[in-house]
């Protein structure tokens, strides 16, 4: 009897395995791109749809694990960055082939680096490696060993290779020959892309089966979010990689098991005051905006908890400083968001001579405290935040006028004419290393929004930030770098040149048919482990 049962169980498991394998062999994962990829050349990609294609098709030397935020070996089995931060040496994986069968070698890495740094190509990915004047030298030091030397130290050098898809130097298919899990099999402009499983993909699962599990990926180009959601609910697509709070709640009400909130993301929403000395603002307003007490008071008068709860329906959290709590290593955990405290705000204002008169706040010279905040028209979340801040500030007698402008007019005002008082915008951040924000924090930088392109730092705290940011960029000692970045976060928290409002959550929707999906806060939220994803058998059969 026992033997019969064992036999029955064995035969059942064989049948199940065969049917699963059969189902997987015809499986297709489907999701939407919000626009057509502008290019399929991995060196030239900068837009989100193109980067999605690169992630799915490109083979990289090492990959940042989006869950652990640690680098993991891929085409390079090991690597080492030199002490001076200029050279990185790789040991490459052997017996790897491109999708067209061309063997992978160190020459391909050298060719990719040459393409990446070619000044005529203006590669956006290559820009991150440009640390100084001079040539990038690649040396093949052995059969599977090579080094890349940069003219100046590159901070966070190894992590930058997460974005570098290796191209074939010899393949007649050029950039269409790939080392990633999929290759582009069909590209119907403006409509869809079909990616097929790379038959030569080097990765295998623990049981020795070649990855990826899913046979093909169909990327439909769909701009309309409503349509995308309807298609998800109907089962026509398998996931939506990024959702906003409104859609998330609607989906959670209809299909709660599909909606996933992976927690706080790297993105932030912030407002700042115009502190440009040459701006056309009246002198008394310049005096308000350059006062730390004034900025702190505004910050304390804003109810961040309410912004997160009402505008983002609880799918955001009050922001602390310029590094998001999602950035596990770099976030300064000692800092807390400024609490909502109108009493404390009024006390801070009183220190600068502000006083209440007939229910409205006036400065020491009797000027009514009224200013405008500009934000980009059409972004309903920012418009709502501005309206809530308007009500919050009315609580301390400040009249705030909310002005929505088309994006070019807004950019013109904040970068050229400086004819604005306060601005509310957000920052989309994909890079964990804070060094990528050097162009914001150096007082001489063009993106130092509150007072850009300064010849010498206007304040002592800006001078200190300059020193700290330069110090962290010139060392590879992570302890020293972390210490410097922590201190910059502290200064920004104290001085509030940017009043950080909220960090949005990373939300996505995944059909129950997709297995092994673990959405995370970093992009790409859902398909970061694409080669591990599988589809349910019923889905595979129906398609």
């Amino acid at each position: 009897m026992k033997q019969r049962l064992v036999r029955l169980a064995l035969s059942l498991s064989v049948v199940l395995t065969i049917s699963l394998a059969a189902a997987q062999s015809g499986s297709e994962l489907r999701f939407c791109l919000r626009a057509e990829p502008k290019t399929l050349n991995p060196v030239l990609m900068a837009d989100e749809p193109s980067e999605t294609v690169r992630y799915l098709t490109g083979g990289v030397l090492m990959r940042l694990n989006r869950l652990t935020q640690q680098l993991e070996p891929e085409l390079a089995t090991s690597w080492k960055v030199s002490e001076n931060g200029k050279t990185i040496s790789f040991k490459l994986r052997q017996n790897v082939r491109f999708s067209d069968g061309t063997p992978f070698s160190a020459e391909d890495v050298a060719y990719t680096m040459q393409q990446l740094m070619d000044p005529d190509l203006h590669s956006p990915t290559g820009d991150a490696f440009r640390s100084g004047e001079g040539k990038v030298i690649t040396q093949i030091t052995g059969k599977n060993h090579m080094t890349v030397t940069f003219p100046a130290p590159v901070v966070g050098l190894d992590k930058l290779f997460d974005q570098v898809a290796i191209m074939s130097a010899k393949s007649p298919e050029k950039e269409m020959a790939v080392l990633g899990p999929y290759y582009v099999a069909e590209n119907k402009a403006g409509s869809y892309l079909i990616l097929k499983r790379n038959p030569n993909y080097w990765k295998h699962d623990s049981s020795g089966r070649q990855l990826p599990h899913i046979e093909s990926v169909r990327l439909d180009i769909q701009q309309n979010r409503d349509m995308e959601m309807l298609r998800l609910v109907r089962g026509e697509i398998d996931f939506v990689n990024s959702l906003d709070a409104e859609y998330f709640d609607k989906l959670a009400a209809q299909a709660p098991n599909m909606a996933t909130d992976a927690g706080v993301s790297l993105d932030s929403e912030q407002m700042w005051f115009n502190q440009v000395a040459s701006s056309p603002l009246p002198a008394y307003k310049k005096a308000w905006f350059t006062s730390t007490n004034f900025r702190r008071a505004i910050s304390e008068a804003i109810n961040r908890e309410d912004l997160a709860r009402v505008v983002f329906r609880g799918h955001a959290r009050p922001a602390v400083s310029w590094v998001s709590p999602a950035n596990k290593f770099w976030f300064n955990a000692k800092l807390q968001p400024h609490p909502y405290d109108q009493k404390s705000a009024l006390q801070a204002l009183a220190q600068d001579g502000f006083h209440m008169q007939d229910g409205a706040l006036h400065d020491r010279d009797g000027h009514l405290v009224e200013f405008s905040v500009i934000t980009n028209a059409g972004n309903k979340y920012r418009e709502r935040m501005a309206t809530m801040i308007q009500q919050d500030l009315s609580g301390i007698g400040i009249r705030l006028n909310v002005v929505t402008l088309d994006f070019p007019s807004l950019i013109e005002r904040i970068t050229r004419s400086f004819d604005y008082e306060a601005c509310l915008l957000g920052l989309v951040n994909n890079d964990l290393d804070p060094n990528s924000q050097m162009n914001v924090w150096l007082s001489s930088a063009e993106n130092h929004q509150w007072n850009p392109s300064q010849k010498t730092p206007a304040t002592t705290w800006e001078a200190e930030i300059d020193t700290l940011m330069r110090a962290q960029a010139s060392t590879l000692d992570m302890k020293k770098r972390k210490h410097a970045i922590d201190r910059v976060q502290e200064i920004v928290w104290q001085q509030e040149p940017f009043i950080y409002l909220v960090n949005k959550n990373a939300m996505s929707a995944v059909s129950a048919a997709v297995h092994n999906a673990h959405p995370v806060a970093l992009t790409p939220q859902v398909f970061w482990n694409i080669d591990q994803l599988t589809l349910g058998t019923e889905v595979a059969r129906n398609r």
């Binding site: 609910v233 609607k250 505008v311 028209a377 309903k380």
Partner: protein
């Protein structure tokens, strides 16, 4: 159809009275944010629910209707008067004046107003109180909306100018001004009325669209335009049907105006 006209008038009187007495009728100030109940469904406290920021939608509808009912017709009146002046004169005088005015009108119509309005917004000061912003918006609409109506009125004035009664008036020795004032303008009234009524919903919707460009009514002041913008976030996926109330009221009010004034138009 008399009963329909009476019903329309009663409805308009009720709506107008409710809007004018909004300070007493509205259950809450239009800008007050009930942050504990954002996007709430209709209830006793909030008859039409609350918007995304927890503001009472019924109160906002009352105040918004007041703004739009006063200002959209004012803008429509301004544009209709400009159209009557420009189109009527051109059609009445005819000849080179008509050709020049119509060429200028065509040029005016062909201008990319969207981009020009963006430029206008960029030139306006930022620190503008909401009530000023709404006045600027509707004044702009009134000043820019005359061209299409002027073309129609000019064509009508041309036809009327060569009609028998005008010929008789001329033969009886009527002067140019008398011809224009006593004979032409009264006969242009139906088409002017039509242009006026067409302009009102167009201006309300344009104001809603301009809001997207930052030219509309500034927060927190409501208008039909800003209330209709709420439908932007209406999703076929899962909607709140009460969000349609401003749209329904807008359609009903415009229809009631047509019904109420039908007789007057016909008799004109």
């Amino acid at each position: 159809m008399k009963w329909a006209r009476v019903a329309a008038i009663v409805f308009l009187v009720v709506v107008s009275a409710a809007c004018l007495l909004a300070d007493f009728v509205a259950p809450a100030p239009y800008s007050h944010q009930f942050r504990d109940v954002p996007d709430a469904a209709p209830s006793r406290q909030h008859l039409l629910g609350t918007d995304d920021l927890g503001r009472d939608r019924f109160s906002r509808l009352l105040y918004g209707t007041r703004v739009s009912l006063l200002l959209a017709p004012a803008a429509a009146l301004l544009s209709s008067l400009l159209a009557a002046l420009i189109g009527g004169t051109a059609g009445f005088v005819g000849g080179w004046l008509q050709r020049s005015v119509m060429a200028a009108t065509d040029l005016f119509l062909s201008l990319p107003w969207l981009f020009l309005l963006i430029t206008v917004r960029a030139l306006l000061p930022l620190n503008v109180a909401p009530i000023t912003s709404v006045l600027i918006t509707f004044a702009l609409l009134g000043c820019l909306g005359w061209a299409a109506a002027a073309r129609v009125i000019c064509a009508d004035a041309r036809t009327l100018g060569s009609s028998d009664f005008m010929l008789l008036a001329r033969a009886s020795g009527s002067s140019g001004f008398r011809l224009l004032w006593r004979h032409l303008l009264p006969n242009l009234k139906p088409i002017l009325f039509a242009q006026f009524w067409i302009s009102i919903p167009v201006f309300i919707l344009t104001e809603a669209n301009l809001g997207i460009l930052g030219l509309g009514v500034a927060e927190p002041l409501p208008s039909w335009g800003s209330l209709l913008r709420e439908l932007e976030s209406f999703s076929a996926f899962s909607g709140h049907p009460w969000q349609f109330v401003p749209l329904i009221l807008f359609i009903v009010v415009v229809s009631c105006f047509h019904l109420a004034l039908q007789k007057q138009e016909l008799s004109a």
